[in-house]
Symmetry: C2
Subunit: 239 residues, 2 copies
């Protein structure tokens, strides 16, 4: 599943049709996306041996099926391993840890969202004024993560237990941060844009959103309105 790779631009040569905002230049060729299975932005990994590649896709298929059937929260490494008829060690070798597996499962969805705000139609994509894109970005993220909340939630929880790096500095997060920062700057916002981006992105945090929706009974519409209001206050009047 989710293996076919839509060609992503290689940093260095700038393809305006795919990356009109020049955002991808922020990501050095190797680093950032090196986490197992996340090749959504730049290059590939070193190339797997045939059996390894075969196992990898089989593991992803099995994992996706199990997640579908029992919920991502109940996905266990051992369960995936035995269902795929491989040893537990193989799963860990391939994905590093449970977080890595979940992130790999999210890879496909993540690319969809990325494509939408990197090169999709307005108001999310490049052909719209930054303030509009800012608003659209929030609602897009809210809806996207809500649509796939099982996986996103499981991944967030798994990442939280370990180092915060996986949670606050995963490639998708970094890309979103850069994107937000770019939009804020273009919208004429002055001040500590980097920090502002962090704050804004924090308000879209899946665990928070889920809590507000599930436990506090807030509707997605209310959260979207809240985002628009927030953007208005932050990027609105004075800049």
């Amino acid at each position: 599943m989710t293996e076919p790779l839509p060609p992503f631009p290689v940093p260095g040569e700038h393809d305006p049709s795919q990356d009109p905002d020049g955002l991808l230049d922020l990501f050095p060729a190797s680093g950032v996306t090196g986490i197992t299975g996340i090749t959504g932005i730049t290059g590939e990994q070193p190339r797997l041996r045939a059996d390894a590649a075969r196992n990898r896709t089989r593991l992803l298929e099995v994992a996706a099926r199990l997640a579908e059937e029992c919920g991502a929260a109940k996905l266990t490494m051992e369960g995936v391993a035995s269902a795929a008829q491989v040893g537990k060690g193989t799963v860990f070798r391939r994905f590093g840890d449970r977080t890595g597996l979940l992130l790999a499962l999210l890879d496909h969805h993540e690319r969809e969202l990325q494509a939408a705000f990197l090169s999709g139609p307005p108001p999310l994509g490049p052909d719209a004024p930054p303030a509009d894109r800012l608003r659209a970005f929030g609602t897009a993220v809210l809806r996207h993560e809500h649509a796939h909340r099982d996986l996103y939630l499981a991944a967030a929880r798994a990442a939280a237990r370990a180092d915060a790096v996986r949670r606050h500095a995963s490639p998708p997060t970094l890309l979103r941060l850069s994107h937000l920062g770019m939009l804020l700057r273009r919208a004429g916002v002055r001040g500590d844009v980097e920090l502002l981006a962090q704050t804004l992105l924090g308000s879209l945090d899946i665990t928070l959103v889920d809590h507000l929706v599930t436990r506090r009974g807030m509707t997605l519409e209310r959260l979207e309105a809240g985002w628009n209001d927030l953007v208005g206050r932050v990027a609105g009047p004075q800049g």
Copy 2:
């Protein structure tokens, strides 16, 4: 450790010297603070048997010492149990889970902070205009959690793995949210105050702050300035 209980007002009768903002009325007598060991706001728990109480304090002492020596991250339930010469089951019976133990260890610190913004001197306490208190609140939380970040971080991570309730709806968090909401309203902010409070509090999240400081090299001063800027944008010009 941390057992002596500074008398907290009982909801129903309103003691303006301790709760000038009337915030505590939001918390029903029993519920909210019922988590083991967190008696920081309202009443006590049902009263423990003598041996249980003895064990409880001993466990807290031992846990505090171990956390001091090896870092809260390395605190294990079994380690605490054996160091305190009791069975593992006893620790779980008393504190529910690891999160509960860590929260109990934080109880004392948490009361200090609460006292400061509930009834302390200005600009944090009641004798200051809401906008000033808003600013002071952020910097106070930032400094407070940073000062005790080992424990706060460990607690946050432990809470994250389980239900998000412990993370987004623990008694301390609820109190902070109410406080922020109250201040925002008094500062004349219109709109979805509850959601705004969530967003603002989110920007002070210990795991995020720690990541920004540790990994991204931001200084606490920068974060404090960011908070002040954010408050200005949110509560500043129009309301």
